[in-house]
């Protein structure tokens, strides 16, 4: 059964998955990548107005085969006087 590695790009940070885990199908790879995003992006309030988190999936040969990302965008509407 093939093993896939789920690297994470979170703002300026890159976390390489050295362990990987077995996925039985492409659908499982896709699900694992996508369902990880909301939890990771929700971990803390970002410093700025945008925060992007990406999961990039490598196969055993080291080639990237799938990518999913989630972007948080926030900002005030209209002018705010201090």
């Amino acid at each position: 059964m093939p093993r896939y590695f789920f690297d994470v790009e979170d703002a300026n940070e890159f976390i390489r998955d050295e362990d990987g885990h077995i996925c039985e199908s492409d659908a499982q790879v896709r699900k694992a990548a996508i369902e990880a995003l909301p939890g990771m992006i929700g971990m803390r309030i970002p410093d700025g107005d945008t925060h992007k988190t990406t999961v990039k999936v490598r196969d055993e040969a080291g080639a990237y085969i799938y990518s999913a990302s989630l972007t948080l965008e926030a900002g005030w509407i209209g002018k705010r006087s201090q």
């Binding site: 789920f6 994470v8 976390i15 939890g39 990771m40």
Partner: protein, 252 residues
């Protein structure tokens, strides 16, 4: 024979010779259970109480969509179902995660212990209350703790619980569970769990490789997790209110 039960329960009571004898009589030859086997299923009415002697098991709930929430890790010295004789049917399942050695204790033996050995009864109460306290801590963690602190917190807890039953060496221990099982206990995705383990490794705080866990900097792990061991109740309640900690959580 190595008796993790006495080791654990000694935190709560000073046992007499006869208490120790009674607790040693409980420890018969354990039987081996393969990993990922159900010990008890939801709806069962078990007649025997199961005690983990070696390995790791879990309490779990299966959701209607098939997802699993692990609600407790059961380590050597832990009862799986101490008071099931009082409750009717099991409202959750218990399964092994790793290969386990288990002992089945007949209900009648438990009844004999609780009717005739007050210090053992007190210790069994203590064990049940600590199980509840751990569950409370997990609920608070899942509801309020950020996922990165939650995972660090769990490792502090497992380290101390394993240390209590003599299953740690220095700050290393065997934790034969998968990252998926870890994620199922923390209520996070497996990719997220892996990412946080990588993060702890990069920061030289803790390394989990396969089933081997090595805490490189316990003080840093504890500080990051904002971990306080109070809920494990490793301190004996004393008459003058000054507890005596049986297992130190101090870093080197």
């Amino acid at each position: 024979m190595f008796n993790p039960l006495i080791r654990k329960l000694s935190i709560a009571s000073d046992f007499t010779e006869s208490d120790n004898r009674a607790l040693n009589d409980v420890i018969v030859e354990p039987h081996s259970v393969a990993p990922k086997q159900d010990i008890i299923r939801t709806g069962d009415r078990p007649e025997n109480v199961h005690l983990v002697m070696d390995g790791i098991a879990c309490r779990y709930k299966i959701m209607p969509n098939g997802d699993r929430q692990i609600v407790a890790f059961l380590l050597p010295g832990d009862f799986c179902d101490l008071h099931v004789a009082i409750l009717g049917e099991m409202d959750h399942g218990i399964a092994t995660l790793s290969p386990c050695k288990m002992i089945e204790i007949p209900r009648t033996t438990i009844n004999d212990l609780t009717e005739n050995y007050p210090r053992i009864t007190r210790a069994l109460w203590w064990a049940t209350l600590v199980d509840e306290a751990i569950l409370r801590e997990w609920i608070a963690g899942i509801g309020q703790r950020m996922a990165d602190k939650r995972i660090a917190h769990l490792f502090c807890e497992l380290y101390l619980r394993l240390k209590t039953v003599g299953q740690t060496e220095d700050h290393s221990f065997t934790l034969p569970i998968t990252q998926q099982e870890l994620a199922d206990a923390l209520g996070i995705s497996i990719v997220h769990a892996n990412r946080m383990l990588m993060d702890l490794r990069t920061r030289n705080i803790m390394v989990m490789r396969g089933k081997h866990v090595k805490i490189l900097n316990y003080d840093a792990l504890k500080a990051f997790a904002e971990f306080s061991p109070d809920y494990l109740h490793l301190e004996r309640r004393s008459e003058n209110g000054n507890g005596q900690r049986s297992v130190s959580d101090k870093g080197r």
